[in-house]
Symmetry: C2
Subunit: 288 residues, 2 copies
Amino acid sequence: MTTQLLNGNLLAKEIKNEISNIIEKKILNENKRMPHLGIILTGNNSSSITYVNNKIKECKNIGIQYSLIHLPINTLENKLLEEIKKMNRNPYIDGFIVQLPLEKHMNQDKIILSIDPKKDVDGFHPENFGKMSLGMKAFFPATALGILTVLERYKIQIYGKHTVVIGRSRIVGRPISILMSRKNYFGNSTVTITHSKTKNIEFYTKQADIIIVAVGIPKFLKGKMIKKGAVVIDVGIHNHENKILGDVDFYSVYGRASYLTPVPGGIGPMTRVMLLKNTLMAALNNRK
Amino acid sequence: MTTQLLNGNLLAKEIKNEISNIIEKKILNENKRMPHLGIILTGNNSSSITYVNNKIKECKNIGIQYSLIHLPINTLENKLLEEIKKMNRNPYIDGFIVQLPLEKHMNQDKIILSIDPKKDVDGFHPENFGKMSLGMKAFFPATALGILTVLERYKIQIYGKHTVVIGRSRIVGRPISILMSRKNYFGNSTVTITHSKTKNIEFYTKQADIIIVAVGIPKFLKGKMIKKGAVVIDVGIHNHENKILGDVDFYSVYGRASYLTPVPGGIGPMTRVMLLKNTLMAALNNRK
């Protein structure tokens, strides 16, 4: 079977152009303030620093202003809460993110709860999560929104299809299982959410029309676990002996799936662009 | 096969006794203020009036004080919002509910969003919904909590089992699908959420170890749609020619399921008692 790769790089570029155009039309041409993203980074986790640098680069490319607060390792939780309060209050910041993971002495839930939901462009605050779940307007978590957008732009039908999600994390598995099954013009999938305590995971994956793998284990999903023609979305990203691997065993799934996202170049770039999209949305809300 | 009925009346009575005991020990004996539930009722929908009267009766029986605001039909939305504000501010009200459905001229989302999440004992505010979804402490919607409690008290194993939920409503299907699958001592089920756009629903129900039916169609789930020994939870309630029917076709499922909730006397009384439990929880939070 011919497997079509879902090109996240290309699609992300397309969407960045769309965002640029909207910024030009609705903000620049109307002499309004440019969108402005706040970023709070704590400690010196090298992956986090890389992620933040990439986000900054993308902001610059697209015409989104940014402010970075980098707090040193071992910063007290109270100091971080204070910086969040400042971002909440600052009228020039349209939205902001606190780069995760936090250091171990920080209470992540407390930190997330302290972010003003109206500025929570990561969509991690429970109010946004709840609104999304209940079908209200909200900031959606970037990865889940990225997956949904790939499927939508490639015109892959999800209505009435059986989607199996592997993983129930706050930022991917849980939100995408809700978004795929919601009553919406792009939704209405029948969704099974599986996880580490699921017995006989193949039983479910073999039934699936669409499989979303966000399990955090390299090469977890093998070709023999899927039915021919399934759509496979790989959310994993792992550095392994100088190679980048996903949660999908690419070579056994390729040729068996109808569509497949590569790693790298699939969901990763889509996730990054969705942060920009959420920031634009926040800015437009504020310029009304 | 012998089908055991899950007796919601009995269990609800048991839990009411537990709540009474906690009120006595932790509130009365410590000379603290009794729990106090606010109820806002709008219009003259006869079902709503019955529901509210039942809630008041249960409050009286158990030692929970209540305040009822009954707004006449055609009350302006602003007037309702004003009453909600008063309840939010009133330190004697531990928690309150706005009885649904609202009249058509009201914006239900706006009304729900105006309730202080800390007093939202119905668990309908998105902040509570989000916290529940993300594994934080929150008020859970009463029906979903009632279902979970029946399963737990009857020591029915849900860990690693396949649960199929029929219906994706805000107050039952969606929250119970999240609660069944969460990472928790009572959770870890593999959950499939099905709905009106699901094709071939039998395909899913026949696989299920546990089926939760909240579809709003009398006698929807027939015996031939389930596998022998499945646990069946019926959330429906319909008045039909002087008989009360559920979403489950009782006589064809009885003898095939291992456990079954009757209608009436199953999930109904459990739902009512969970409102009392949430109110107690709110009161204990406030008396700390």
